[in-house]
């Protein structure tokens, strides 16, 4: 066994029915897919050995994504394209491998360096949405309550723009903080506007990390 672990970074899309699979279940799904791939995996040490794997960020239940990232570790260096093929073969079809690369072990953890996420939200037809949304953003504070804790999410809304999608729906593109200290989600905002997140299609399009 090579003592120096090889760190592999995978960018993937999560689509279709798999958007109803939560974060811990997704992690377990990857562990099993990695085991099926027969790549020379690095395991955690200790009594119960697990595949060493690190997902950048929990994708909320019901969201699709084109921009998820995870790291896992190998005991041997292999070609990225070879790893990518193996992963594609062993994963459910609703997970699409977009990119695989070998990265330096000294890089900080994905979770630790995540700052923000970009989302595209396809909204139900509602002519007043843009106006209501703009008015909400003009307030000094935008308070949401989560687990009995009220926080102001206004500073966590980093940028946004509206456009019309091809299907005639309103499309909201929004960047929101996803760091450990400041974390919010689009559904927090939608609920404040009286919109049922289930009536929207929410897709994560980018993860933004510390440089």
């Amino acid at each position: 066994m090579n003592d120096r672990p090889i760190r592999v970074r995978v960018k993937y899309a999560k689509k279709g029915n798999l958007r109803f699979i939560g974060h811990l279940d997704t992690q377990r799904m990857f562990e099993r897919a990695l085991r099926r791939s027969k790549l020379p995996l690095r395991y955690t040490q200790g009594f119960n050995k697990h595949v060493r794997i690190n997902l950048a960020s929990a994708l909320p239940l019901g969201f699709t994504s084109d921009a998820e990232l995870l790291d896992f570790w190998l005991n041997e260096e292999l070609e990225a394209s070879f790893i990518s093929d193996r992963l594609t073969k062993s994963l459910p079809s609703e997970i699409e491998i977009l990119d695989v690369k070998l990265v330096d072990n000294s890089l900080p953890s994905l979770q630790g360096s995540l700052l923000a996420s970009d989302y595209e939200i396809l909204l139900p037809d509602n002519e007043l949405f843009e106006e209501n949304f703009t008015r909400l953003l003009e307030q000094d504070r935008i308070e949401v309550t989560r687990r009995n804790k009220t926080i102001d999410i206004k500073p966590m809304i980093l940028r946004y723009e509206f456009s019309d999608s091809e299907s005639g729906f309103n499309l909201l593109k929004i960047r929101m903080s996803s760091s450990a200290s400041a974390n919010t989600r689009p559904d927090d905002l939608l609920e404040l506007l009286g919109i049922n997140p289930a009536d929207c299609k929410i897709n994560r399009t980018k993860l933004i990390f510390e440089e």
């Binding site: 109803f20 699979i21 009594f47 119960n48 019901g62 459910p92 009536d199």
Partner: protein, 620 residues
């Protein structure tokens, strides 16, 4: 189902707990193209996905049916109450996980009935699928509704809802049912013709073709076929040689109970414990050869990526090659970071030897033993003899090997039980704790699991009454206070759920109406302790006008016609009577592999017995 319906399903999924239960899409799921000319099965497990998807029988039938080109088999489970509420609110019928088809679009619904507490769920599922509940209300435009599984050895309480039952093992008979169905369907046969055809298949019971008459006191007078060309008794179906074990297991995307690969290494048991339904109805003992087991595990690991394997049987220590199995498993898989479980080990040092071979069985999880009774006298009554010395020595060795946690299973409410027998259970716990502490100090955990006896159909105890909830509660209270003082953990079945199980498992045809009434008044998921349904059931009995105590607390006469007497499990009634009498005398019968007691299995199935080199049978 139309596209807009799928959209609607997806919308309600945002409002329910664990929506991954309802979307399918697991690795190794089989989705066939939905087309005419196929016989379309939906295998329905009437409990939630988390519990049903783990069922090995379901995996076996899913494989057996889908291997045939002309058959399509999908899955469906009971929606949890939150999902059901959303479905009813939005008028969404229950659908299959694979092609998301409504259940009433299938030809055959095959329900798995492993235990009785999900009977009301069956009705709920039919109702959610817009399918009439009673067999007589359904013509050929509705799916054929069949049931199978361990509970169907007494199918009577559900006989009016099902068109037919498979009694016994399903792997082969489902293909015969499928074939017959497809022929009759093509010919445009009537439902009556189909049912008559089905009744001719070995192991298939069509309840509407049998008539039950009653005496004035409520006992059964006779159970008779309504026509002369169908059998008086339905002999269960067996597979003489266990078929190829499935290995391409579905890998659930959400966590389920027993989330691991399960490999059945042996079917049936020769020990003859008198309380044990499984030990009586699953005879003869057949085992898989070690040379077949290893490749199945290999295949399963490769195709699932699972990290845990369970080697299942009713009595693992009794597999004639068990030492070899544990050795080979270790040889083949020790470098793959797996964990193995080997439940149902006998209480003897040999079990520890097995543990030595199978190093992947780690002391982390705790060691489980099932003495079932705590005095040698009581163990003779239930025919599970265990030498006191051997028991304590085994416990000592378990602790010495590094285990710090032991769980022990006992039963209360056994025939001839006295206070002394109950006190002995507590005493066992205390003694074992003391042994553990002498080796590991205070970090020892002893856990007692207490079940109360439900005398089950087809066992030597089938004539016995159930002990009253009050007397059970008294014994439980005694054990609870004793274990609390001693710092021993204890878990137990609530007497109410025991009572419900006794009605449903020992009932006759009159229970159909009771189940219907209870369901109409909201009974479902009756196994879930937090839903207090017993009053609903009592009311249902009252509405139908029968006394539940008739089923629970009555000692039956040995010559009484029992509701399940027309179901032939291969074990003769004479044998059960003899065994019952021996029990009351405190006399045991040894493992029947050494000494045949002529239970009847060889009379019913001897002709099917394979040559030695083709498959092991436990019968001498």
């Amino acid at each position: 189902m139309t596209g807009s319906n799928i959209d609607l399903i997806e919308k309600i999924l945002y409002h329910v707990e664990k929506p991954g239960r309802y979307v399918g899409g697991e690795h190794n799921q089989i989705i066939k193209h939905w087309r005419d000319g196929m016989t379309k099965w939906c295998l329905v497990f009437p409990d939630i996905y988390d519990i049903g998807q783990t069922n090995l029988g379901l995996a076996m039938l899913y494989q057996a049916l889908n291997q045939a080109d002309e058959i399509l088999a999908e899955r469906s489970f009971a929606p949890w109450v939150d999902m059901e509420a959303e479905m009813r609110k939005n008028a969404i019928p229950l659908f299959s996980l694979e092609n998301k088809k409504r259940l009433n679009e299938f030809d055959i619904l095959g329900f798995t009935l492993p235990y009785e507490s999900i009977y009301t769920n069956v009705l709920n599922i039919l109702d959610l699928s817009a399918i009439p509940l009673f067999s007589k209300e359904r013509d050929m435009s509705f799916p054929l509704i069949i049931g199978g599984g361990q509970a169907t050895f007494n199918p009577e309480p559900m006989s009016e809802f099902f068109d037919a039952f498979v009694v016994g093992e399903g792997e082969e008979v489902v293909l015969e049912i499928s074939k017959l169905y497809s022929i009759f369907q093509k010919e445009g046969a009537s439902k009556q013709d189909l049912l008559a055809g089905l009744s001719k298949i070995e192991g298939v019971y069509v309840p509407s073709l049998y008539d039950v008459s009653y005496q004035t006191d409520g006992r059964i007078a006779a159970i008779k076929p309504t026509r002369n060309n169908i059998p008086e008794r339905i002999t269960k179906r067996i597979v003489p040689v266990l078929p190829k074990h499935p290995s391409k297991f579905l890998v659930p995307n959400v966590e389920i109970v027993h989330d691991r690969v399960s490999i059945e290494i042996m079917r049936g048991c020769t020990r003859g414990c008198r309380f044990c339904h499984a030990g009586m109805v699953n005879r003869p003992v057949r085992q898989r050869d070690v040379k077949d087991i290893i490749p199945v595990i290999e295949d399963a690991l490769e195709s699932t990526g699972y990290e845990e394997i369970g080697l299942l049987s009713l009595s693992s220590s009794d597999h004639t090659q068990i030492l070899d199995i544990t050795k080979k498993v270790h040889e083949h898989f020790h470098d793959q970071k797996l964990s193995f479980s080997l439940p149902s080990l006998r209480i003897e040092s040999f079990s520890l030897d097995l543990m030595d071979e199978l190093k992947e069985l780690k002391p982390g999880g705790g060691f489980t033993l099932a003495p079932e009774a705590a005095t040698e006298r009581m163990r003779a009554v239930i025919n599970k003899p265990l030498d006191e010395e051997v028991f304590l020595q085994t416990v000592r060795e378990i602790f010495e090997k590094g285990w710090r946690s032991i769980k022990l299973y006992y039963m209360i409410g056994l025939p001839t039980e006295t206070q002394e027998d109950v006190e002995a259970i507590l005493n066992d716990g205390i003694r074992i704790q003391k042994i553990g502490k002498s080796i590991h100090g205070n970090r020892v955990k002893v856990h007692l699991g207490i079940a109360s006896l439900i005398p089950k159909p087809h066992t030597p105890f089938q004539w016995l009454p159930v002990k009253s909830p009050d007397s059970i509660q008294e014994k439980l209270d005694f054990l609870k206070s004793g274990t609390r003082k001693a710092g021993i953990k204890m878990s137990y079945n609530i007497p109410d759920s025991t009572l419900l199980e006794s009605w449903l498992s020992r009932g006759d045809r009159r229970l159909n109406q009771v189940i219907y009434e209870a369901w109409k008044n909201g009974a479902k998921f009756d196994a879930w302790g937090e839903r207090d349904n017993l009053q609903v059931w009592r009311n249902a009995f009252a509405t139908v006008g029968i006394n539940p105590d008739f089923y629970a607390y009555r000692q039956r006469d040995l010559d009484e016609v029992l509701p399940w007497d027309h179901i032939n499990i291969g074990v003769k009634k004479d044998y059960l009577i003899r065994d019952y009498q021996l029990s009351l005398q405190g006399r045991t019968r040894k493992d029947c592999r050494q000494n045949c007691y002529m239970c009847g299995i060889l009379d019913s199935f001897g002709e099917l017995r394979p040559a030695k080199e083709n498959g092991y049978w436990g019968c001498p």
